[in-house]
């Protein structure tokens, strides 16, 4: 079947198998930041935004996103200028192996769009579905908090 959808604002029109998952389709067209870890909607690694809301692409049928808008971490930086969450992740040492990071950035971004000034509790709750086996979460939680401050213009970038 043929579907059309945008990824980071760019229109893609392509042929897919009806049973294909969004994760595979996104990887096939070059969005390699979208990665498989559990394959069963239980780790958050493959998170992308669908019309601004975080979804798990490993268990979302590609067919269901026909005509809709997807955002991935490839679209977060503005040219060479990193998104505040990406920058804060580097500063806080919140990426070790980095495998969970695209999912963390996208879930974090969805949170900050909805709640520009989240508490620690808000951050933990919003990102609870994003497993990280390396960092012990603390540097990532700090990074989201810091990015929120930057986004609100309270801290120099």
């Amino acid at each position: 079947m043929r579907i059309a959808f945008t990824v980071n604002g760019r229109l893609h029109e392509l042929e897919i198998e009806p049973g294909e998952y969004l994760l595979e389709v996104l990887r096939r067209i070059g969005y390699k930041s979208v990665r498989r870890s559990c394959g069963s909607a239980s780790c958050g690694t493959c998170t992308v935004l669908l019309n601004g809301k975080p979804i798990l692409s490993c268990s979302t049928f590609a067919a269901s996103i026909d005509g809709q808008n997807i955002e991935t971490v490839e679209g977060m930086a503005d040219g060479d200028k990193l998104h505040p969450i990406q920058e804060a992740i580097l500063e806080e040492g919140a990426a070790q192996c980095g495998y969970c990071i695209p999912g963390v950035v996208m879930t974090g971004e969805a949170l900050l769009r909805e709640n520009p000034d989240p508490t620690d509790e808000n951050i933990r709750l919003a990102l609870n579905g994003n497993l990280c086996r390396c960092t012990g979460y603390e540097p990532q939680n700090r990074a989201i908090k810091k990015a929120a401050e930057v986004r609100r213009g309270e801290t120099d970038e």
Partner: protein, 770 residues
């Protein structure tokens, strides 16, 4: 620590960080290979069976299936999957494909197809007839008379006693423990048991293999040990080492789980048999049950002390479960003693020993901590129990008896990894500082023994002290090559393997520090057996210390070379020259920059490539130390345990990159917290792992802990590169004992079987009430 450095000791951003946060294609599965065959494995549904027949006819007839390989298609070569120093102290008890299967998940056949669907279809259509054998799952029954023999094959080697399923055995005595215990005023004897754990690295095990234009086998793999991988592949596949290249790109977590050679041989087999590129990616269930898990261990522990509070004797007699195969079996068991017992070095007698046995469960292997957490649980908790019997503050008791700077322990010399160790004196040990800071942070004195109650909920605190090592002395070798470019930048080539730990970054910092240039002038390239010098790989907390020292030595050689060449060019005496901020200066104001010097030597003057290599093998393995504290709340109605606060302070020498070092401590602590409270493996009656995904195997999430406070104390290890020692593993040693001790402080219940499920606490509470 009045050392002033330019680049080391600073929280430099990871050199690979930009690619990671931008989601660049950097992991093995991101490497496009459109014509790569999809490799899938047929796994045994039986825990112990002999294959009577395999019929692949139906499967081979499926469109797009290219090949199916069974034990009949491969040469029988015994090997060990353990990626460790050669010759390995692990038994050669593994075969790429065998007629016998030894656990549910053991590989029966390798399928190669042009697409995923055909490969899956083929796996389903292979008909196998098994002769089912009796299995043994309980490690305590594995050596019993009449137990089924798991490795009855003639050609395995290095197994301690095949007929009794004993893969390895170790015993060590200093003094006469039983006699010494008899003469102690207080003696405590208990049995402690710790279950296995899954690594649960987010990137599944995977590899891509292909022949390059001259027919060499290229292996791109998510591995912690590229050089061991090349050597073992050469052994199994009977291919010269010169014809194999292993490349490790970024890897999505390892924790020891990728320190065995697991997936690479299957993909390589397909490439060799078909001539085509091949890719294998394990599904999450396969990662859980078809790779390595942690060694389950049980110890009978005895500790004896005098009335004055001096620990005089320690005995640990244990058993370890290596599962179906013996990779890392002896060494992990030895580490349970060698990296815990020296902590309490004032004893008169020590005993450590036991068997490592085969069972029909998934093979155990390397896992962060490598046996030390399994040994520390009985040791620390028994000391804690004894302190309570003696009516002493357990922290005070541990503090009084633990090792300090300038001291040693005979165990360092007696126990190494798979063989004897090396004698060493603690040149840096800031354990007291760790204790003092942690004690203050958790508010030990006002919280301990108070059993603060709020309704049905009661709180308590516990502590644990730990040590680890920094590489395996006289075994682990790392090497580095540094080559200079005409803009004054340097290529740093290292065999060391960055698993996400940040080792590429800190090794770059070391080179930058010596060469007096900013970190961005060091271009780090690592873990490619064609292009980088040898390194044993990322394990045993070795990279910072061993590989780091190699980088320091290589950089110093480059610096010497540069000064020699500058002396010649400037026509000055070599001793007059200094290198600072990338410029060589003479006393008279004459100068030449690194960039000018290199450009000249490349194109016009005394032409040569400035390039040096160095290797390093540790003479010692300076231990990092840690003091950790847990505060828990137990609901006495339900048994629910809540971790309120976890505090861990560590002495890792000088932290070359404090943010990355701290990340190791925080991450290892969380992994240990998961093991202590949430991560529980359950097997079906037939030995199949039921908890093989993230729904059933509970990796801690952001809501599963209260506060996590970690810190590094000021320290300097004189033998380390710029004062550094290791930090990668130690954090995982303490959560289990610290949390167990806290649960006791809160409830009076001693949990001697980890993980500490709330059900277990509730049962104990109910027992107490009866």
């Amino acid at each position: 620590m009045s050392k002033h450095f330019i680049t080391v000791g600073r929280p430099e951003k990871k050199v690979d960080g930009l690619a990671l946060v931008r989601g660049k294609p950097v992991y093995t599965p991101d490497y496009d290979a459109p014509d790569a065959l999809v490799v899938k494995l047929l796994r045994s549904p039986h825990a112990h069976a002999q294959i009577k027949s395999i019929d692949t006819g139906l499967a081979e007839a499926i469109h797009d299936v290219v090949g199916i390989f069974t034990y009949q298609d491969v040469e029988r070569v015994p090997y060990t999957r353990a990626g460790q120093g050669y010759p390995e102290p692990s038994p050669y008890d593994t075969y790429l494909l065998d007629r016998k299967v030894r656990y549910v998940g053991d590989v029966v056949a390798v399928v190669a197809a042009r697409n995923e669907k055909a490969a899956r279809e083929a796996v389903k259509n292979i008909k196998v007839e098994y002769e089912i054998l009796d299995p043994v799952f309980d490690m305590r029954e594995a050596s019993n008379e009449g137990a089924p023999v798991i490795h009855d094959e003639d050609d395995c080697s290095g197994v301690f006693d095949k007929s009794r399923n004993i893969a390895a055995h170790f015993v060590m005595d200093i003094g006469d423990v039983e006699k010494t215990l008899e003469s102690c005023d207080f003696v405590l004897r208990k049995t402690y048991h710790v279950d296995t754990q899954l690594h649960a690295a987010l990137e599944p095990h995977n590899a891509l293999t292909y022949f390059d234009s001259v027919g060499r086998l290229i292996v791109v793999s998510s591995t912690q040990v590229p050089f061991h991988c090349r050597r073992i592949l050469s052994h199994i596949l009977k291919k010269p080492i010169a014809d194999i290249r292993v490349i490790k790109p970024r890897i999505g977590g390892g924790f020891g789980g990728k320190q065995s050679i697991i997936v690479e041989p299957y993909a390589a087999l397909v490439t060799i048999k078909t001539g085509m590129p091949a890719r294998i990616v394990y599904g999450r269930e396969e990662v859980s049950m078809g790779t390595n898990i942690r060694h389950e261990m049980s110890f009978d522990v005895a500790v004896g002390a005098t009335n004055e509070g001096k620990i005089r004797a320690i005995s640990l007699q244990g058993i370890s479960n290596t599962g179906a195969y013996g990779e890392h079996c002896l060494t992990t068991f030895m580490v349970a003693g060698s990296k815990t017992l020296p902590l309490y070095n004032k004893v008169d007698a020590v005993h450590f020993g036991g068997d490592i046995v085969y069972t029909n469960l998934p093979p155990a292997g390397a896992y962060r901590g490598y046996g030390a957490p399994q040994g520390l649980f009985p040791l620390d908790c028994a000391i804690d129990e004894l302190a309570h019997e003696m009516k002493m503050d357990p922290l005070k008791f541990k503090e009084m008896n633990s090792i300090r700077e300038g001291e040693t322990s005979p165990i360092f010399e007696i126990m190494g990894e798979g063989r004897e160790g090396v004698p060493q004196i603690m040149r840096s040990c800031k354990l007291q500082e760790c204790i003092d800071l942690g004690k203050k942070s958790i508010d030990w004195d006002s919280k301990r023994g108070k059993k603060t109650r709020n309704g049905t909920k009661v709180r308590g605190v516990g502590c644990a002290l730990a040590m680890q090592g920094s590489g395996i002395p006289k075994i682990d070798m790392g090497a580095a090559t540094i080559k200079m470019n005409e803009d004054g930048s340097f290529n740093l080539l290292v065999g060391a393997t960055d698993l996400g730990t940040g080792s590429d970054t800190i090794l770059g910092q070391i080179a930058a520090e010596v060469l007096t240039v900013p970190l961005d002038k060091i271009v780090v390239y690592s873990s490619d057996t064609d292009l980088t010098p040898f390194d044993v790989g990322a394990y045993a907390s070795s990279t910072t210390y061993v590989s780091g020292n190699a980088v320091r030595l290589a950089a110093e050689k480059v610096k010497e070379k540069v000064l020699d060449l500058a002396a010649e060019y400037l026509e000055k005496d070599r001793s007059e020259l200094t290198l600072e901020s990338g410029v060589i200066r003479g006393k008279d104001g004459s100068s030449v920059s690194l960039s000018e010097l290199c450009t000249m030597h490349m194109y016009t003057f005394n032409q040569q490539q400035i390039c040096e290599s160095a290797s390093y093998v540790g003479e010692e393995s300076p231990p990092p130390f840690a003091a950790s504290f847990a505060e828990v709340e137990v609901d006495t109605d339900t048994g629910k345990i809540t971790l309120i606060n976890y505090v861990s302070y560590a002495d890792c020498g000088l932290a070359l990159n404090p943010i990355q070092a701290m990340g190791q401590l925080e991450g290892a602590s969380m992994q240990g917290i998961g093991w202590a409270l949430y991560e529980d493996i359950i097997y079906a009656k037939n030995g199949r792992m039921l908890t093989n995904d993230f729904f059933t195997y509970k990796v801690p999430s952001r809501m599963d802990y209260g506060k996590l406070t970690c810190g590094l104390v000021d320290s300097y290890e004189p033998t380390g590169p710029f004062g550094a020692k290791s930090i990668g593993e130690i954090g995982i040693d303490t959560p289990i004992p610290a949390i167990a001790n806290a649960i006791f402080d809160a409830t009076g219940i001693r949990l001697r079987h980890a993980p500490f499920k709330s059900e277990r606490v509730l049962f104990e509470i109910l027992n107490m009430e009866v």
